[in-house]
């Protein structure tokens, strides 16, 4: 490699954009060539200097609040709006609410067996998957295509019943990671609504179907044969219950 060839590659090296072979050939040249080594050191110095100060312009808090109010339904951080005496009053109110929530949620926590975190994870995943390209890894309305697709990807075989007769149309399946382990997501459609059925191994006794509601979405959860099942959708709750019963019955 000569210096002319090395020139632009010094930047790619600096930016970690070269593969191992590319990096190695540049490093060889730098070991040999003083001029390029000096240039590289200068670039490294510049890079470090730029990185050492925060150069990003941040939007003002008022502007950010205005955007949140316009584009998101709930402001990101209502706490920021409290000032002066309000703070004391609000803190007291918050403390009271805290106590009430604690009392109310205690029994729920006990029966809910620590599934709140995973419920949130599942709802977030469901919402991400609503983007068209993210919906399925294996698009198929044929249960005999979807079910075998999971072989070798998961240690279990998820149920993929054909529910066309009940008006739940199979769209396909995708692989997810929930609670740090592979999970199967089977995707159905009911009219315009997408239903995600998440299945993941989870040792425990069979349970009856529990309902959670979050931001207009229903999550039905149950345990069956040491597997944890979650059905998530914004479809009518009656429809989702019918769906869960069909899955449980199969």
């Amino acid at each position: 490699m000569n210096c002319r060839e090395a020139g632009p590659l010094l930047h790619a090296r600096l930016d970690n954009e070269l593969d191992m072979a590319g990096s190695a050939s540049i490093d060889l040249h730098l070991a040999d060539c003083r001029a390029c080594a000096a240039q590289y050191a200068a670039l490294q110095g510049l890079h470090d200097e730029i990185a050492s100060v925060d150069l990003a312009y941040a939007p003002g808090a008022a502007f950010e609040r205005k955007l949140a109010a316009r584009f998101l339904k709930e402001p990101k951080s209502p706490l920021r709006l409290w000032t002066g005496n309000w703070l004391t009053a609000s803190a007291m109110a918050a403390a009271t609410v805290g106590v009430i929530v604690l009392i109310v949620s205690m029994p729920a926590l006990r029966t809910g067996s620590g599934t709140d975190a995973i419920a949130t994870e599942i709802l977030d995943d469901h919402l991400r998957a609503l983007e068209p390209m993210h919906q399925v890894d294996v698009p198929s309305s044929d249960q005999h295509t979807v079910k075998p697709w999971f072989q070798g990807k998961t240690s279990f075989s998820p149920p993929v019943p054909d529910l066309t007769g009940e008006d739940f149309i199979l769209i396909g399946g995708r692989l997810e990671v929930l609670n740090q382990q592979p999970a199967a997501a089977i995707v159905y459609r009911r009219r315009q609504h997408v239903i995600d059925l998440y299945v993941l191994p989870s040792p425990g006794a069979d349970s009856k179907t529990e309902l959670r509601e979050q931001g207009g979405y229903h999550l039905l959860h149950w345990m069956q044969n040491n597997m944890s099942y979650w059905a998530v959708s914004d479809v009518d709750l009656t429809d989702l219950r019918t769906f869960a019963d069909l899955i449980r019955g199969k």
């Binding site: 020139g7 632009p8 010094l10 930047h11 790619a12 930016d15 954009e17 200068a42 670039l43 110095g45 510049l46 890079h47 200097e49 730029i50 990185a51 050492s52 100060v53 925060d54 150069l55 990003a56 312009y57 941040a58 939007p59 003002g60 502007f63 950010e64 955007l67 316009r70 584009f71 998101l72 339904k73 709930e74 977030d124 919402l127 991400r128 609503l130 983007e131 068209p132 390209m133 931001g215 207009g216 914004d234």
Partner: protein, 172 residues
């Protein structure tokens, strides 16, 4: 909450600050940057159903860039280069005021050098050095091949070395 708002919150909203930063560097004043971010978010909100890519960040930033370029082309800029306003600096809570002052002057010096670059070099440097995008992501935001990204960064950095190089020895 309806699905569109939730989708927007999960895909586009996380890049709002990056959007503002890029807009601010391109149009060089706060008011215009705010207008551009607002317009870009609205475009992204309306277009999110037709978005098919995997990278909402580069998608969002390319919307911001196009909006900013349109804006500059129409010559609507409400003010030319505005000097650094202390009020908009990130708050520094370090207990050492002397160090904070030094940091502030270094920030201004580097910012001024980057601000002086021609737009095509400036945007490449901002996306790479401040937003930390890969060449591939930069290529996608700017709509140019990766080789061009590399040569623009190369030109930009050599210009910055000239601009910043001399003074560095004095302050070091």
């Amino acid at each position: 909450m309806d699905t569109r708002v939730r989708t927007f919150e999960l895909t586009v909203w996380p890049h709002m600050r990056a959007a503002y930063n890029l807009a601010r560097w391109l149009v060089r004043n706060n008011q215009d940057a705010e207008d551009i971010v607002q317009e870009s978010l609205l475009k992204a909100y309306k277009a999110q159903e037709s978005f098919r890519g995997n990278e909402p960040k580069t998608w969002m930033l390319s919307i911001v860039r196009n909006t900013a370029l349109d804006f500059l082309r129409r010559g609507k800029s409400s003010a030319e280069v505005v000097l650094e306003k202390p009020g908009f600096e990130p708050r520094d809570h370090s207990p050492d005021p002397e160090r904070a002052l030094l940091e502030q002057s270094r920030r201004q010096r580097v910012r001024r050098a980057i601000a002086q670059l021609a737009p095509e070099f400036r945007e490449a440097i901002v996306l790479r050095e401040i937003e930390g995008l890969s060449y591939k992501e930069i290529a996608s935001v700017l709509g140019i091949p990766m080789g061009t990204v590399m040569s623009r960064l190369s030109r930009a950095r050599n210009l910055l070395l000239v601009e910043l190089g001399g003074a560095k020895e004095v302050s070091a």
